[in-house]
């Protein structure tokens, strides 16, 4: 199984065809996969709150939208999550690279990692943490859950999770 293709396939199977991304090294393969395929419209954004604005518009235009981002940017999206996505009841899968966890080489990444789950909990955002490679099996159900309840939902993917796959995206 190619993990990057698995994420994109699950998005596509759930009708998610509008995805905005702000890059992270861990997510490079997924972003490349989105860019490659034509059943999903990929629109890079310059900042995560901007990306959520794009998703809000796409949602109101009848699309299922998602954002792919890094956890360090969670802080800049708090107001947007509270006053746009949650206030107007919009579904938004947030596939998040969870930097600053076990295996992290960059100390500064830990500084936002220690706040990540706390901020999500404070916002009452349903949060799933992919740690083992096999955790990805739940992704399809999480997408269905997101569009069932019309909420932003966070999927945190850490280095141990990504470390279970090789450079091609195959399980080690």
């Amino acid at each position: 199984m190619d993990i990057n293709k698995k994420f994109a396939d699950d998005f596509a199977a759930n009708g998610v065809d509008f995805i905005t991304t702000v890059p992270c090294k861990q997510l490079a393969g997924v972003i490349e996969e989105l860019e490659r395929r034509d059943d999903i419209f990929h629109i890079p954004s310059n900042k995560e709150d901007e990306g959520m604005g794009l998703c809000a518009g796409a949602h109101m235009g009848g699309k299922r939208a998602a954002i792919i981002m890094q956890n360090t940017a969670l802080g800049v999206t708090i107001n947007t999550l509270a006053t746009l996505i949650q206030y107007y009841r919009m579904p938004l899968p947030m596939l998040i690279s969870y930097r600053g966890e076990l295996g992290e080489p960059v100390a500064c990444q830990v500084e936002m990692a220690v706040h990540t789950k706390g901020l999500l909990a404070q916002l009452n955002i349903p949060t799933y943490h992919f740690h083992r490679p096999e955790d990805v099996a739940e992704f399809d159900a999480i997408l269905k859950y997101t569009f069932m309840c019309n909420k932003p939902v966070a999927i945190l993917t850490d280095a141990t999770f990504w470390g279970g796959y090789d450079g091609e995206g195959d399980a080690k």
Partner: protein, 184 residues
């Protein structure tokens, strides 16, 4: 002319178009002047009107006009490269540039000083940028709607606000009404 006078003048032109209207007094003014189901009022989230408008324009075929402000565009300048590089022919960004943060008490913005938003938009790659006097906004907007090219309009107007009531409609009602109008 101040923003509310511009909105009054363009109200008949934008009546049946999909509008994403900026947070604060702009939304209050548009709501009071001509409330329509085709209006999406932002109640929070300063800066994202242009992003929401672009997402909406890319997601469906109807014309979309985002009514934004100079202060709000400055707070989300990253929107302009995204708009330029994902040009949607059905999208018009109308920046009402009064050189001030109107909703917070008319503090001056840099757009009223050395910074030219139309030049910034051009430098970001927007190919069809029109800067106009407040008096000419209706005419420029009609031309933008008639064409099939994405247009960024920077309408230079005077600073000032009309006294209008706060919007008390529930956000979910605003969205539901708007989404039905999008689908109609």
């Amino acid at each position: 002319m101040i923003r509310s006078e511009v909105l009054k003048e363009i109200a008949p032109i934008i009546r049946d178009e999909l509008i994403v209207c900026n947070i604060g007094i702009p939304s209050q003014e548009l709501h009071a002047i001509d409330d329509q189901p085709t209006n999406f009022y932002m109640l929070g989230t300063m800066g994202l009107a242009s992003s929401i408008g672009l997402g909406l324009a890319l997601a469906q075929d109807k014309n979309v006009i985002a009514i934004d402000g100079d202060g709000s565009v400055l707070t989300n300048l990253g929107t302009l490269p995204t708009i330029a590089n994902n040009a949607a022919g059905n999208f018009t960004l109308l920046i009402v540039d009064n050189g001030s943060y109107g909703s917070t008490g008319d503090q001056p913005t840099y757009a009223g000083m050395k910074t030219s938003l139309s030049k910034v938009a051009e430098a970001c790659g927007c190919e069809n940028v029109v800067e106009c006097r407040a008096e000419d906004t209706g005419e420029v907007l009609e031309a933008a709607l008639a064409g099939d090219e994405m247009t960024i309009i920077v309408c230079k107007c005077e600073s000032g606000n009309a006294k209008m009531p706060v919007i008390t409609m529930d956000p979910v009602v605003i969205k539901d009404r708007f989404m039905k109008a999008v689908q109609a």
